[in-house]
Assembly symmetry: D3
Homo-oligomer: 300 residues x 6
């Protein structure tokens, strides 16, 4: 590197290091606080998957005698990494333990609070697996191309998306900031299925193919619902406050009751209800309630 180059580099570094340039973007950011790390969260997802479906994910075989050891090691490590990342999330957003922004806490207060949340999450894992098992069955029953449950678990994108979503949703209920959204976006990147961790989704849920599916923050989905690729469960519009900024947290996504089927590329928008057992045809745009048991489709 010659002198001219070195000068350009050091000048650029100087401009990029100017903290005032960060002011707007990082105004909540405590000096020196760690931010949840994408790399560590990726390891957390791998561990959780290896715990939920050992053999299919992670390095173990499913051997009755030694399975406990593998699950044990993975659960302990999951607990440690999760506590560490939750602490990073809490410090970064300056939340107190109820998820509310509060007076800044000490390092040690955040540490204990994060460990509590991680511990509560661990205790939910058996329940999470129970629900995911119903999703596997739903995917198998819904796809004539599926050869066996193993194929579903090991490679169907819907299962990967739901593993992340169901984990993220529990963390959201525990008022863990930032991380739930990072987890579902990781699945979004992996599968093309974008489920907001705030959505509520029942048992025996499945999505065929999946690319392009969007499920918004306040969506509520019953049991035994099936979506196809490209389906949007979105907001129609959202009210803004006096500054023209969207008001956060208002219910604005649809409710799908039990046994609903939505075909590919349909868009269901706004806080409407699709009644029990209704079927929505492909490529259509639904912005009003659909009665239970009916079938609506594109006019041709």
């Amino acid at each position: 590197m010659n002198n001219a180059t070195a000068q350009i580099l050091t000048q650029t570094v100087k401009e990029l290091s100017d903290v005032t340039a960060y002011k707007e973007l990082f105004h909540k950011h405590t000096e020196g606080t760690l931010i949840p790390s994408g790399t560590v969260l990726a390891e957390i997802v791998e561990l959780a998957r290896a715990i939920l479906f050992p053999g299919y994910y992670g390095r173990s075989t499913v051997n009755t005698d030694t399975l406990t050891y593998h699950i044990g090691v993975n659960v302990e490590r999951l607990y440690c990494l999760l506590a560490q990342q939750i602490q990073a999330g809490l410090s970064f957003t300056e939340c107190d333990c109820d998820g509310e922004v509060s007076e800044v806490k000490t390092f040690n207060e955040y540490r204990i609070c994060a460990q509590n949340k991680a511990e509560q999450f661990i205790a939910k894992l058996p329940e999470i697996r129970k629900v995911l098992a119903t999703d596997v069955i739903a995917a198998y029953n819904g796809d004539p191309a599926a050869k066996n449950y193993g194929e579903i678990v090991s490679c169907y994108p819907v299962i990967k998306a739901l593993m992340n979503y169901r984990i993220a949703h529990e963390l959201l209920l525990l008022e863990v900031p930032l991380i739930p959204r990072m987890l579902t976006e990781m699945a979004h990147s992996e599968t093309g299925i974008d489920i907001h961790p705030g959505a509520t989704i029942g048992k025996y849920f499945t999505i065929d193919h999946g690319t392009g599916v969007v499920i918004g923050e306040t969506t509520i989905i019953g049991d035994n619902v099936k979506l196809y690729q490209g389906v949007t469960l979105g907001a129609k519009s959202f009210p803004c406050d006096e500054n023209g900024n969207p008001i956060k947290g208002i219910p604005r996504h649809p409710i799908l009751e039990d046994d609903v089927i939505v075909y590919s590329n349909a868009s269901i928008l706004g806080r409407i209800t699709i009644g029990k057992g209704a079927t929505i045809g492909g490529n259509i745009w639904v912005t009003q309630d659909v009665p239970a048991g009916t079938f609506i489709s594109q006019k041709r």
Copy 2:
């Protein structure tokens, strides 16, 4: 970690290790049998790509004098890893060497059977590359933004999806279980293009952009066909057996004859035939045969 936490962890591990909880999901699962590994399959894909397009993938340059060495090392390693993974797949599904479920075989029988299949696959590689070369040409000719073949090979998603598909399809013809589907789902995750390994696809095939494309299990595609992003070649509906479960393996996806073009987000559903040279407009829903040479589009 304090005692209370340790107790919650060990209790959770105990619940998660309970084998009866696995019964339904893993009923075919032989104790201690390995399952094909996503990590190893990813290495297999990397090796295969480095063999098919050396220089573009893997670590070598394309040097006439030393190319053989690189291909040789990669082919040998591909053979070993593939034999190992096929063995895992056969044991897991308890298939015999014809892909049928059979009496359980010994470790050694599976080993030899897997080596045979891997060997047969290796011998197909030159043919696979020949077909992929036609796909590269089709992609180049179909995209005014393409600058040269190198750009196509190194970054067009369609080529990545077709490399995996054409490999997976050969493995499926060799009656290798589970792995073909895992390979195409890996490409699905990477490109948003979901091609079932069971589909039959001719030469000079291309897909522009690709995200959201679905090509179902029994689809048949001729030569010189072009799809755009979001196209579905899917099933319309599927007959169920007396238990309400879908009957597996019935032809239910479309046939696209030579020279067909399908524009973005069109859905072609059911065992229908799109005749030679037909063009299907964007965003439409096709459920009936389309005669050769015709153009159909959305009514506006």
Copy 3:
């Protein structure tokens, strides 16, 4: 490996190493020249992201006192890797320093030329960050589900896609071959958002959810524009030369003026203009100019 297997392997290697089989595909390829490496480009993207949004990407915390060190190390390494990869790109395509194909240059000429381009790129980084900061604000303002800027930066796919696009676009303006397209395809794989590096995009740009969005090579987008998932800004058709091959480089994608909104799965095709402040409804197909301030939607 027994003898029969070894024979099949060596025979296959021989066929695959036959250079005449490469002739058509690699006719421009200088012997022994390196091709830009996907692995190194992935590291380049990681470095650039860590420079643009330290703390959110890379290993540092955002500590006022030590931030300079991290940015400095990353900028230096980015310069080195980029110069190396640009050199690979220039040699491979046999471009001269203006991006034109020229007489073959020496190793050393390519080296110096590549260093110049890398240096010019580094000097653009502060400007790139300034524009990306407006994109973060646009994403936050446009999504009621967003909790804070940090969430946007750390996990919204649109930001990942725009980081790669804005970097790639600058490299394209510097007449760097091949690499810009590889960078945007990496983001395409990660986010499902396919932006051609040749497109021109203004400030405060955002895309909600993003999967399936396509923005073509000659697209021009003003300030403060918002797209939803599945939107295509594409070409309608393209003129071919006398050999039936598409003519490269003709403006064939739309112009979106300031303040335009396009809802999900809409397709806007051809060199048409969507006027300032116009709104395009979801799932529709637009092939003609849309006047400023108007709203067009699907007929139901």
Copy 4:
């Protein structure tokens, strides 16, 4: 790389690949047989150390509640890797299961034989740890600079050398070829202490500092013996056969009875006996029996 270079490289490769050049060196070598791998043996040593002294080696903390999980996972993996490496060792040396050279066995016979040996080794681990614990105590008692047992376990070279030796010795007793010697040479490289796996060493054994210590194949050491750095327990000379080659396997190294101390750089050579409680001074050369309880030293 230009043509001249390429030619030199390919010519060199050709010469190096000439199998006749290997004939003398590799005459026992079965085609395509794996050889035990230094890299895998290094992992085996790491696993064994993590099992024997959890917390000090490997990634776990010593937590009563979760310790079992870590040991369980490590024992299972140790078994698998060891069985694989023993198989490589048996095939390479064409031994039968008693360590004798025999008619060539099948892949599967070697596999089962190796698993049996690995299993028997695993069952010895608790006993190995019990003896190593006495070595830790001896090292602590013998060194005024030692602060606590933890310091001994985590960094004293003698413990590293003895972990490898005691493992290697058990494998040798199980008639595992090649691997025992590779394991002790790994410790030799790490610590400068060269103990042949064939030596027999009692409890409460320690070596201070250790660099340069040599303990030969047929050495016998009682309980509670202490050596200092640079001590050689070697052969004086060895009888040769009619071809002038040394006759293998004859007892030719010393016997040290209980409670012997040997100071630094002393050499004790030949099949002599150092009686119970004797002390050998530094820098001397001993080639004859030393009575129990005596002290011999360098004349000054």
Copy 5:
């Protein structure tokens, strides 16, 4: 793995997990406390070397303009890792901040105490480098085979041993438990030179070749001293307490005044003084004071 094997494995795991077996060895060990990690200490050594001799160690070039960035990043990371490891060391040995065993402290007290020590250590780095620079000059002047300072810094074992020793010695002065000894044992393994961190060593110190050198805990070495390979500066004997255990911490190793030379394999034992400028010949055993300026050697 068959059932019999699984049973042997689980039985072995059970025996190995029995905590009572650990009682004697780990009696000071707090449940769940981390122990300093060899892997992290290896990274700490790499960082420290890269800071002390940038270019020779670590990834940077020595570029005046960008050197600060590299040192800055490395210093920050060194601080973090060191604070973490010191905390592990303090907790493990239950020391208070003066190195004395004390009442158990809380996690947070250890954390703050460790950070203080790490900070004080960082501030010593410029001084450490200054002394190491004198050692480089001494090694160069003392070896006719040395071509330039660069050769000394990059590969002479004495410099590697002294880097670790001088770091470890400072940490010992800061009353950091366990880690100093681990650091010098790492250098012992790397170089065959065993320097106890408690030794006091002046400027312009060098050791030629080095293998087998031992420098005991209470040794005091002046300026401009040179040792050759195999030299021992050891204890002659040590007084034991009423239980027959050695009394810890008594001065028992030699004092070497300025300008002393000790030739290969000499042993200098006990709290004796080798006077200024004395020369000790090779292979001899010295247990009494040597007057300044004299030369003593082996009688032949």
Copy 6:
């Protein structure tokens, strides 16, 4: 990290970055020049070992049919890495291509010069292997504990030391600066055997155990020589110039003629000759010529 800590860190970084502090140590150091990297040299050693003894080192099996591929890939990579490292060495020492310090050359001149040297080295590999094969035979014949050639090749320290030495010696003859010494010091660290690359060593050379052996720069060793552990072939004293600095490059180490044996811990010092077939006993100090065929030993 709080403010006080940050201040200490930045102050330390500032002191450490002060280039004037480097002046003495790095006076020959061109700005921004790379220094040969220990990490890359370690890879070079691994590659060379895998080429010289395939199967024993590296990942291949010794399969007649595929061996060429592995050697080919390794030779090509060895060439590339070596050329790169030689270039770093030449630039750093500002040597011209004859090893003499010269006027500073351009980047490109060093590049071409380094490639020439790397190419010449590659062409020597078959000869190097031929000599190493004689060393393997010598080690086998000289050790009754050796079971087969495979054991020698895979784990005897003498072979590891000689692989590095014989490679380093060839590079020294090609006037490559710095790297030869780095290579032999790597083996010194691994084996405790310190052979200067400048020494000249004949065929069928072996060292038993090896720890502590030193072979100086101007040593000359004939064929069929055997050393034991701790042997020094060193300088007795060296003449200094008018400034009191040692004069470099004068012959000052012993000559060992064919068939000499030297027992453990003997020191042979100065430019003396040990005649053909002489035997030197252990632990003695030899500073005068020894006639051919004689045996000298320690008086007791």
